[in-house]
């Protein structure tokens, strides 16, 4: 009978499920499904995974050791995506890796549907992370904190942390992911922190600093005057910058 492991849609959850699945059913058919998003099937045995922090580094270490760092990174990105079958795809990719001679090259075997899926998910997440590196707009709050709200489809906060920490090491800044209710917070001179499950205090997030308005106006003026009127081309603009990103951008508000 097929064993299905059920876990929460978190990094810890999925790695714990991978841990259990790998330990017990690596030689047979098994699946990983997300809690609340399962589809009951016949001839399956369902089990809820016991999630714990210890299981995460164990699986990660094994992936890095046998499948290489690049594969590990692809898996990690795929797990951050918004797809319901991501755990399944990663697990089946791991199974596939045992069958080939050089497991570190597993991500080249795009002929295998599970590998192709992981590849696609990983690309989707890293592409979205790259777009948000471009379109995130900070506003300065009264207390000098740079604050930004975004609504990405995948959990990209972890992927952009390093970029912004390197870019603004001496600033206090914070990015709020509205879709997943998570914060990325950085204190001047310290490491980034990812905080999940906290609510945004809308009132204090709207108290902007004295000259924030001025710089917004300056930026909008620049944005207007830099376009060449004779070359206007809204379609091209839309291809490069789809409308869903514009909601949170200063120059389009």
């Amino acid at each position: 009978m097929k064993q299905v492991y059920i876990c929460h849609d978190t990094v810890t959850g999925i790695y714990s499920a991978l841990y259990d699945a790998w330990k017990e059913s690596r030689n047979r058919e098994a699946g990983i499904e997300l809690r609340g998003k399962t589809q009951q099937q016949l001839f399956c045995e369902y089990r809820i995974v016991e999630e714990c922090e210890k299981k995460v580094p164990a699986v990660q270490r094994m992936i890095k050791r046998y499948m290489g760092y690049n594969t590990y990174w692809d898996f990690y990105l795929a797990i951050l995506s918004d797809d319901n079958e991501k755990g399944d795809a990663v697990f089946r990719t791991m199974q596939e890796a045992r069958r080939i001679a050089d497991s570190t090259r597993i991500m080249d075997h795009l002929g295998c549907p599970a590998v192709a899926k992981v590849f696609e998910l990983s690309r989707r997440v890293s592409n979205e992370a790259h777009i948000y590196k471009e379109v995130i707009r900070f506003r300065e709050l009264e207390n000098g904190v740079l604050f930004s709200e975004i609504s990405p489809r995948t959990k990209i906060l972890a992927c952009i942390a390093e970029h912004f920490a390197d870019r603004f090491p001496l600033e206090n800044w914070m990015i709020y992911d509205k879709t997943h209710k998570a914060f990325l917070a950085h204190r001047a001179g310290a490491e980034c922190r990812l905080i999940c499950g906290e609510e945004l205090n809308k009132e204090s997030a709207s108290r902007i600093s004295a000259n924030q308005k001025e710089y917004e106006e300056l930026w909008k003026a620049f944005f207007e005057s830099i376009a060449v009127k004779e070359r206007e081309n809204p379609k091209l603009q839309r291809t490069h910058l789809p409308k869903r990103y514009r909601r949170e951008m200063t120059e389009f508000s």
Binding site: E134, E171, S225, H240
Partner: protein
């Protein structure tokens, strides 16, 4: 109206000086990877980052401004020429520094693009640019991207000092021929423009040696230099323009040559009759396509155009045109052709070509594999074979292929093997014989 000009606000200055800078095309922030040192603000990534796209669809990556729009020169094509009556203003170095820093920390921009009109003299202007960059780098500790113009005619010592602060430098050649330059920009000369370009090139070469010796030697223009040409302000042909670009790439190691479709901002009798369809955007597009062929596909200008055919085809891209003129080289066998030849097939780009070379080591490639690899089959199918077979029966004939490439809106012709499915509907003529044909 005579009135004494009062001090302008930063808002007005920014409006005027960004409006004056918008005809400069280069807005790339690529070519250099640099991590922040932890004591300031900013970093750079090699691929470059675009932060927004303006209404004309061009990317906004850098804060593109002029230092001043006052200018002693009178170039016919320029809004800021001395004989135009426009509001003149200048930033102060501090204005620019605060604007850059405040925009940068809100993640609006990737860095600064600083150009300028010629105030008093080239040396004076270059010095102002240097002062601004110095402040930005050493007082404000800015480590993001800086693109600065080298002013033709300025002292080389100033250019050298500025080069150590900037990531990319550029001098605009403006027009493809020296003759055109003489006519439209009477105060500029070819020699004056090429001198700083050569100087920067030599500086970069020397700097590379320094860096191999001393790892921490300061970097001189690490992202290379670029230039820009105006398209359509003179009667020069595409062949002239492309040959000039090729010469610049070969002799001056430029990173990029940008082409800018001429937007007539001044009325002047020297310009060719201005058409009413706006700036020559398609021509600009074709030139960029050809520019890519020069830089990444190992083409030469003389292969794409010649004295007899000096302009690009408006209907077909330069690579297709070249292939149609050299049908004796086609079809190419995908499983055997060398990399350079694969690059020359329409519909195969650099990425697909290198993927093909890698993938065919594992086994013979079929048309289905090519599609997965990313080859644009609707264009490539006339020029390739897989294991000796073409995708569908075609004639290797210039007229036939041209017609197909244009008429079918570049779709794969029906009956091209198993790759072509058609959605069945209830009202289809359900002749079993026919249906079988469609699904073959």
């Amino acid at each position: 109206m005579d009135c004494i000009q009062t001090e302008m606000t930063l808002y007005e200055k920014l409006q005027i000086l960004s409006d004056a800078a918008k005809y400069d095309v280069a807005c790339t922030s690529s070519g250099v990877d640099r991590r922040g040192d932890g004591n300031g603000m900013g970093n750079c990534s090699r691929a470059g980052i675009c932060h927004s796209f303006s209404a004309d669809g061009r990317c906004i990556s850098l804060l593109k401004i002029l230092f001043t729009n006052e200018c002693i020169y009178d170039c016919k094509y320029c809004v800021n020429r001395s004989s135009n009556d426009v509001v003149r203003t200048s930033f102060t170095p501090d204005d620019i520094c605060t604007l850059t820093m405040e925009f940068y920390r809100r993640n609006y921009i990737e860095g600064l693009f600083l150009s300028s009109g010629i105030l008093k003299s080239p040396d004076y202007t270059m010095e102002l640019l240097y002062v601004t960059l110095y402040k930005l780098r050493h007082v404000y500790n800015f480590q993001g991207y800086i693109h600065v113009k080298a002013i033709p005619g300025a002292d080389t010592r100033l250019i050298r000092l500025t080069g150590f602060l900037a990531d990319r430098m550029s001098v605009n050649v403006e027009l493809p021929t020296a003759e055109g330059l003489r006519r439209l920009a009477p105060h500029k000369s070819r020699k004056n423009i090429l001198t700083p370009m050569r100087f920067v090139q030599d500086g970069m070469r020397q700097n590379r040696e320094e860096i191999t010796l001393y790892r921490n030697a300061p970097r001189f223009v690490p992202a290379g230099q670029s230039t820009q040409m105006i398209i359509g302000a003179t009667q020069d042909t595409d062949y002239h323009i492309l040959s000039t670009a090729e010469a610049l790439y070969k002799k001056f190691d430029l990173k990029r040559v940008f082409y800018s479709a001429f937007v007539p901002v001044n009325r002047d009798s020297v310009f060719p009759a201005v058409s009413h369809d706006g700036p020559p955007l398609l021509r600009e597009h074709r030139l960029y396509q050809a520019d890519w062929l020069l830089r990444f596909y190992h083409f030469e200008a003389a292969e794409l155009l010649d004295e007899k055919n000096p302009n690009f085809n408006i209907f077909l891209d330069p690579k297709c045109c070249w292939a149609l003129k050299h049908l004796e080289l086609f079809p190419v066998e995908i499983n055997r052709a060398e990399y350079r030849m694969l690059l020359r097939v329409p519909g195969i780009g650099c990425k697909s070509a290198s993927r093909i070379v890698k993938a065919r080591r594992m086994g013979n490639l079929q048309f289905d594999d090519l599609r997965k690899i990313g080859v644009v089959l609707k264009r490539a199918l006339y020029f390739i074979t897989c294991s000796g077979k073409m995708m569908c029966p075609t004639k290797i004939e210039e007229d036939y292929i041209t017609r197909n490439l244009l008429n079918t809106k570049e779709r794969i012709p029906e009956g091209a093997g198993s790759l072509n499915y058609r959605q069945l509907t209830l009202f289809d003529d359900m002749d079993p014989e026919k249906a079988r044909l469609t699904f073959q």
